[in-house]
């Protein structure tokens, strides 16, 4: 049975996509539904081979609409469930991402971002879906999205995604750029005991006392799954705490939608992760995530050598947006630099929060990540201004 281990403890040379699949398995993922798409296909291929080895379930669906629907169904059947895709497929998933939000379904969606709009640049990495991840489905809602910047983080943060999804009963996103997905690097996989995994909260009352969508103090309701005897009704319609449609009472919509947002917002301190480098005395702060944060780290070091007090705030959590961290930073730096592989997405959030502090944006699209010297030049300009 050694070859069928769920946790491949040890050191490996691994591709980002494969590390993501292994992270999911280590987190306890037992259901994967997907549809082939570059540059996320390797995750689906790995899951096709691995799920059956760990008593899990793999299914290749007819499209991404179906993949997203299937993981919601699987999650309600009690399995930790995931799908993986890239831009075009992510667009198709938006419909049922909204359903997952509304029905408070724990699930993980991986988006290995490629150049867009439309079919765009299938084989080239990008960060053009960050706003879509937050706002892509219709309506008001909050989700959780983590942005890995290394193959190690493709493993680690996929586990974290499952833990957040299970804790907050919300779809949780691994938002990786295509470069990180296709990168080969060293990964250290810890022992099973060292990996912290979280299981969804179950009801502690009998079926006749159970109110399926009545939240606890943390705003998250305990989840009874199908087949457990609780006979739950689940709907995408606005519903009361019993789970029944209530579409003519404004109070019900008000309470439900606000709670769905608040359960993420009020717990944002527990969700937000950042990495700080040389920010204590910095005049210029680079705020980056994903692959540009690696060029940024190099650029910051170069700036320090050139006598510019630069630092880096790397966003590991992109959604909910780390407002407090960015605001604090904006209060003591003279300028902020935001490099992104898009035409300006997270930079808007930074500008919104940073208020008076000048924000310099560095856009890079077309399939090449920023070089350190490109970011260094923006830091130098920002320091002079």
């Amino acid at each position: 049975m050694t070859m069928h281990r769920e946790v491949l403890t040890g050191k490996h040379l691994m591709q980002g996509d494969i590390a993501c699949a292994e992270g999911a398995i280590a987190a306890g993922c037992k259901f994967f539904a997907g549809y082939p798409i570059t540059p996320a296909t390797e995750i689906t291929e790995r899951m096709a081979r691995r799920m059956i080895e760990v008593d899990g379930m793999f299914v290749q669906m007819e499209d991404e609409l179906a993949s997203m629907a299937a993981i919601i169904g699987a999650s309600w059947a009690g399995a930790k469930a995931m799908t993986a895709t890239s831009g075009p497929g992510f667009s198709l998933m938006q419909e049922n991402i909204g359903l997952a939000v509304m029905t408070e379904t724990p699930c993980v969606v991986v988006n290995i971002m490629r150049g867009a709009p439309s079919t765009g640049l299938p084989t080239e990495g990008a960060q053009q879906d960050v706003m879509q991840c937050k706002w892509g489905s219709h309506g008001d809602y909050e989700i959780i999205a983590l942005a890995p910047a290394s193959v190690q983080e493709m493993f680690d943060l996929t586990i974290e995604c499952f833990n957040f999804a299970e804790t907050y009963r919300a779809p949780t996103f691994l938002l990786a750029d295509g470069f990180t997905g296709h990168l080969w690097e060293r990964v250290v996989i810890p022992s099973r005991e060292e990996i912290k995994t979280v299981e969804r909260k179950k009801p502690i009352v009998p079926a006749d006392k159970y109110v399926p969508f009545k939240p606890d103090e943390d705003l998250v309701p305990p989840m009874a799954c199908f087949g457990e005897g609780y006979r739950v009704h689940v709907t995408g319609l606005t519903h009361d705490e019993l789970g029944y449609p209530k579409t003519t009472d404004p109070k019900i919509q008000h309470e439900l939608v606000n709670r769905l947002c608040e359960k993420i917002r009020k717990n944002s301190d527990k969700i937000i992760r950042t990495y700080k480098f040389m920010l204590e005395d910095a005049d210029v702060a680079v705020i980056a995530y994903g692959i540009p944060s690696r060029s940024s780290l190099n650029a910051v070091k170069r700036a320090r050598e050139a006598g510019i007090k630069a630092g880096l705030l790397r966003l590991i959590t992109v959604w909910p947006f780390p407002e407090k961290q960015v605001e604090e930073l904006s209060n003591h730096v003279k300028a902020i630099v935001v490099p992104e592989m898009n035409c300006g997405q997270v930079v808007r959030e930074v500008e919104r929060v940073a208020k008076e502090t000048p924000v310099h944006f560095s856009s890079k699209i077309g399939g090449e990540p920023h070089s350190p010297s490109e970011i260094f030049e923006v830091i130098r300009r920002a320091a002079k201004a």
């Binding site: 069928h4 379930m57 299914v59 669906m61 007819e62 629907a69 169904g73 309600w76 359903l99």
Partner: protein, 278 residues
């Protein structure tokens, strides 16, 4: 005696979420008959209601999931079969019934239908076919007959309708039947048979829509439509579903397909055992 107390005396009341009644369906609609036949089938079979999941999509019949006292999911438009696939594969011990409409299952959800049938995922799909989108006020759909009037075919329908039983058979369903809301006993027996059989099973139920489709096409009251069913329906078990197109003169009903084929779950289990032995 309150209405609810009256309901509670019904022999099938224990299968329903009585607090949700009265249901939303119009007078004369066939959806209530489908609900009745479905719960009667559950009762006859002694189905374990803790292990049954009813999944529905969007539309009038979509509300059925919320009326049956079991685990149930009222999904997004067109997606019940894809969602049900996830439920069944993640927990093969559950019995899955998808109950939805012609527009939900064959227009927006058509792709999911054919692929679940092809995979032979173990589920019973019941389609309430009322020839139009009733919930949104009566637009034409994939089963609307040629020349029919709907709000989006004000000059008559020029699209050829699907023959659902032919489609289901061609896509690989192991059991295919068609009844109307008039055939209460036969429909109930058909649902029982489907629930006991393994694989992807499909039952089409022709359902009156007197308030919306019927009104626009001058079909009279529900009772007139029921009388018409009695006149034009012909029971032909084993009939070629390709030739069972619905016409104004004739509706062929019956069991068209009843075959055995390994299900997705069975093939997977076989593969699983081989891999575990390695």
């Amino acid at each position: 005696m309150t209405v609810l107390q009256e309901f509670e005396k019904h022999p099938l009341a224990k299968y329903l979420r009585l607090e949700r009644f009265p249901h939303i369906w119009c007078e004369g609609c066939g959806d209530g008959i489908i609900l009745n036949c479905f719960v009667k089938a559950l009762d006859d079979l002694g189905i374990n209601m803790d292990k049954l999941v009813v999944v529905s999509g969007i539309g009038c019949i979509g509300r059925i999931a919320g009326y049956i006292k079991c685990d149930s999911f009222h999904t997004t438009h067109g997606r019940p079969i894809a969602l049900a696939t996830g439920i069944k594969l993640a927990n093969p011990k559950l019995t899955i019934a998808v109950i939805s409409g012609d527009g939900d299952l064959f227009a927006i959800g058509g792709n999911h239908f054919i692929h679940a049938a092809r995979r032979n995922v173990d589920m019973t799909v019941i389609c309430s076919n009322n020839f139009n989108y009733g919930m949104t006020g009566g637009q034409f759909g994939p089963t609307t007959p040629l020349d029919s009037y709907t709000t989006t075919t004000p000059y008559g329908n020029i699209e050829h309708p699907f023959n659902l039983v032919h489609l289901a058979a061609a896509a690989g369903a192991v059991y295919v039947a068609r009844w109307t809301a008039l055939h209460v006993k036969r429909l109930t027996e058909s649902i029982k048979k489907a629930l006991q059989k393994k694989g992807f099973k499909f039952i089409e139920v022709i359902s009156p829509c007197p308030e919306i489709y019927g009104r626009r096409n001058k079909l009279g009251k529900a009772i007139d439509t029921m009388k018409r069913y009695r006149q034009i329906c012909e029971i032909r078990h084993g009939y070629d579903p390709a030739k069972a197109e619905i016409t104004i003169e004739k509706i062929i009903v019956g069991e068209f397909i009843d075959i055995e084929k390994p299900t997705y779950g069975e093939l997977l289990q076989k593969q699983f055992l081989t891999i575990q032995k390695r």
